[in-house]
């Protein structure tokens, strides 16, 4: 009898495992793609990075229950599930980046550099080099995302500590400051040397400005230029109910992708991008009314998406595993909206935009959905009910795509086979 019971337990476990593999860790994917739950409950996993040997590092927004804030994950038996998970670090943050044997990680103020050994283990977890220190972090949009170009320069977003640069932030009727003083030290991308230690603001350069908050960014090796995803402004209807309805606010402004070159200005806080008129509109804090255009000197977005979906990661796919249409295209992890309320929320998925010769080549589409855990076509009504929220992206050496979630701390591995 006991043996039968044990046998049944085994059968049940086997069925559960098999169904986990079959249901793609709960994700909805295009035909031919499969997903596994690479890791679960590791903590608030923001951005992720992978070494050429396939070792994955995740940066946590807060130290996890074990008190660690950078997690190292390795899949030694190659079954699509991490089996060797360790961690260190006491500081929360978002940014992480691997270049050769250099591992960069950020807190909200600083950028650190750890050295890896031949097994991609950190040689000294207690003593990273401080590459940049003292970056501005004032609660709102404080997280620092990073990427490197091919020349050893590091690019970091410094988010604006404001919604629309009002004299009093998020205060109805408070005017926009002219010029916006926040732009001197935030609301843009700064460029620093990737190796020099203890750099401060004065050592860096404001590479691009007029970006309210960037979380997802990537260096495009084909165009040899920086691409970023901006989080558009909130609350047009709350502050200007006579100009914008709830329904209009749910669709305004667009979430935007920009290709940046040195000196570019994307227009925040003076303008926002309207996805219907396909124009830069003057912000109401600066005299706009939903019809007046602005931002003559500001660049236009490369691609735009529905409002408030919170693009938290951008990755240009350079692998060979996925079908041809994905080559050099952009994957974007949308963390999911809150400011569309009272209308249903959007996002909580990974989107894809095809690119050809460094330019978008077709409409964007949803690539991976189902992170929220809701069934069918049910939309997230309240953000806290979403099971997982996509936040980071990384490409494995075999061309698989990894997606991190900062809610439950899951890492999904998405692969393709014919």
């Amino acid at each position: 009898m006991k043996n039968v019971k044990i046998f049944l337990v085994f059968v049940f476990a086997a069925i559960t495992l098999a169904s986990n593999a079959q249901n793609n860790a709960g994700l909805k994917l295009p035909a031919g793609f499969k997903a596994t739950l690479f890791a679960d409950t590791i903590g608030s996993a923001r951005h992720i990075a992978i070494t050429p040997n396939g070792v994955l590092f995740a940066k946590l927004m807060y130290p996890n229950k074990a008190g660690k804030s950078i997690i190292r994950l390795e899949d030694k038996n190659k079954d699509g599930v991490a089996d060797n998970i360790t961690g260190w670090g006491k500081y929360g943050g978002t940014g992480i980046f691997v270049k050769g044997k250099s591992l960069y990680a950020t807190s909200d103020n600083d950028i650190y550099l750890y050295q890896l050994n031949e097994k991609d283990e950190v040689i000294d977890t207690a003593k990273p080099k401080t590459i940049v220190k003292g970056l501005l972090a004032k609660n709102q949009h404080a997280s620092k995302s990073i990427t490197l170009d091919g020349q050893g320069n590091i690019y970091v977003n410094i988010g604006a500590y404001s919604n629309a640069c009002q004299e009093k932030d998020r205060m109805p009727g408070s005017k926009g400051m002219m010029p916006c003083p926040i732009l001197d030290s935030a609301g843009g991308i700064w460029k620093f040397d990737g190796i020099k230690e203890n750099q401060v603001y004065g050592d860096g350069k404001r590479y691009a400005t007029g970006l309210r908050n960037v979380v997802g960014l990537d260096w495009n090796k084909q165009t040899n230029s920086l691409f970023v995803m901006q989080h558009g402004r909130d609350q047009l209807n709350s502050f200007y109910p006579t100009l914008y309805t709830d329904a209009q606010n749910a669709e305004l402004p667009a979430e935007t992708m920009y290709e940046l070159h040195e000196g570019d200005n994307a227009g925040w806080p003076y303008v926002y991008f309207d996805p219907y008129q396909k124009k830069k509109m003057l912000s109401p804090e600066y005299g706009g009314d939903g019809k007046k255009e602005g931002g003559e000197n500001a660049i236009n977005p490369t691609v735009f998406f529905p409002a408030h979906m919170a693009p938290n990661a951008l990755l240009f796919y350079t692998g060979n595993q996925f079908p041809e249409k994905y080559k050099n295209g952009a994957f974007i992890a949308f963390h999911g909206s809150w400011n569309r309320a009272p209308l249903p929320q959007e996002g909580y998925f990974v989107a894809f935009v095809p690119f050809k010769d460094g330019k978008p080549n077709g409409e964007w589409e949803i690539f991976a959905n189902g992170f929220s855990g809701l069934t069918g076509d049910e939309k997230v009504k309240n953000p806290r009910n979403a099971k997982a929220r996509p936040c980071g992206l990384a490409q494995g050496p075999d061309g698989s795509l990894y997606v991190s979630d900062d809610n439950k701390g899951s890492i999904f591995k998405i692969s393709y086979s014919k």
Binding site: N139, N163, Q235, S238, W338, N382, P383
Partner: protein, 132 residues
């Protein structure tokens, strides 16, 4: 003991019947939906890491009325630690709210979702404002 229970019972009934009517709660709900819901959400659950939840919040159901009144009226711009989590978004001020509006919306949020705290009267809001 029974006497005390009856006394508290009558007090609660009187409290509802005399000072906070169903109409006041309905007004509070209306204010919540037009001014608060966009950030704190329909379920009062807020937005993880950004906008603090009201449902189940120890601050909202707590006894520091003066602080609640101050935050509703003047907004809040610091990172707030609440029940083991942090919330980073600045809260919009509501300088146009009258004392009765604050009482009504507080009564609504303190008795909605899983919250089962006491309702708040306009007189209590005025008293809380005067308390330093």
């Amino acid at each position: 003991m029974n006497y005390i229970k009856i006394l508290i019972g009558s007090f609660l009934i009187l409290g509802f019947a005399v000072n906070v009517t169903a109409q006041d709660l309905a007004k509070g709900k209306k204010i919540y939906e037009t001014r608060c819901l966009v950030c704190h959400q329909a379920d009062g659950g807020g937005v993880p890491n950004m906008n603090a939840p009201l449902d189940g919040s120890s601050n909202v159901v707590g006894n520091d009325l003066a602080r609640l009144v101050r935050i509703i009226k003047g907004g809040y711009s610091e990172k707030i630690a609440l029940d083991g989590m942090y919330y980073s978004n600045a809260m919009t001020a509501n300088p146009d709210f009258k004392d009765a509006d604050i009482a009504n919306v507080l009564s609504y949020i303190r008795t909605s979702w899983s919250n089962k705290a006491t309702v708040v009267t306009e007189a209590q809001v005025i008293a809380a404002k005067n308390k330093k």
